[in-house]
């Protein structure tokens, strides 16, 4: 039995390590990733003013329902959308930086998005400050 002590200890160490890594490695890895919240951009009503003075009609006011992006995200230039991609045989979540977003009118907190972002895209609304294009992220799921 004494000669079996070292093999028993080695076996125990190896298999216990593998069990612990199997159970906790994903959690450890996810904690090392930037944690972000994502949302589809909501649609809001913007007050719009059209300038027809050159045509002799003056200004026309109205309302338009469009996608709204928070001003702080646009002003920082950090508009990221999440996309899935394959890494090491699994689907993972990555972010892509959008550079060509056209905005229109604005309200107190948001800009109107005219083009550059799809309605179905999920935009990073929290945790975007330190992100770079192509980074892998962990999406925090809303518990509601």
């Amino acid at each position: 039995m004494k000669s079996k002590i070292i093999p028993i200890v080695l076996c125990a160490l190896f298999y216990c390590s593998m069990i612990l890594l199997t159970l906790f490695s994903r959690r450890i890895y996810n904690n090392s990733l930037p944690n972000v919240k994502v949302e589809r951009l909501p649609k809001k009503v913007f007050s719009v003013v059209f300038d027809y003075t050159s045509m002799g009609y003056g200004y026309t006011e109205g309302e338009r329902r469009s996608m709204a992006i928070p001003k702080e995200i646009y002003d920082l230039g950090k508009i990221f959308i999440v996309e899935t991609g394959m890494k090491n045989g699994e689907e993972r979540t990555f972010v892509r930086l959008l550079n060509q977003v056209t905005i229109g009118f604005d309200d107190e907190d948001n800009y109107e998005v005219l083009e550059g972002i799809s309605e179905k895209a999920f935009v990073v609304v929290n945790g975007y400050e330190k992100l770079n294009d192509g980074d892998e992220v962990y999406v925090i799921k809303d518990k509601r």
Binding site: P7, L10, C11, F14, M18, L21, S25, Y29, M86, N88
Partner: protein
Amino acid sequence: MLRKDTFRFMRDGTHVKILILKGIIFISAVIFIVPLIFTIAYSFIIDNTFSFSGYKELLFDCFIFYRMFWNSMMYAGIIMLCQIFIIILAAFSFHFARFKGKKILFLFYVVLMMMPLQVVILPNYIGLRDMGLLNTRLGIILPMIFSPFGVVVLYQYIRGIDVYSVEAARLETNSIFKILIHIVVPQLKVCIYAVALFIFSECFNMVEQPMLFLNDEKLKTLTTFISQSDNYNNNVLFPASVIFIIPVFLFYIFFHDELEKGLRFL
């Protein structure tokens, strides 16, 4: 001052022969062990620098590895246990039972044992397809638990056990299973460990069956992970190979005393 027997080894060819034999064995051992050393060394070398990042990426960024590792352990463990059970019963029956066609049946086992995998894999595939067992765990386990290799080896070993102890046990009891468990199996322990190692190693290393019989990634084994290098980052392959070696190595060092006795017979 030279002694009379100083150059005796040169006249006596036996020592030279032993030296040559030891040299050949040493060179063979080096040839076998060099790839292993290279694998271990390259697992720590990333971009020509010593680094643990390969292991870090494998263990903390490649989660499919764990699923395939435990699949391999599960298949190898279940197949080994089932095969040992069947092998003991079959070898015992071949030696102690008397029935017509025993020799022909044993010859059939020997012929099956000598058939390479490539010959039997297509009939296996067709049989599993017709039974609806493709892409299932049973499709991997069932064909492997009826392997003839262990039966043939254990039968050869069982022929050398003490028959008188069996005869004496028959005076005490009529139960064949009691005789098998209490008299025969303890005498076969050494051979069983040796055969178990071969079975475990063979099943842990199998690559053709998972690749052909399984489509679902969740059921595949570690050998398919290592063989399908296109899907994964190159940094993880050498560390995965090193970790792949460890279970069979641990099995060996756990039972190496018994295995050496069994392998001497084999």
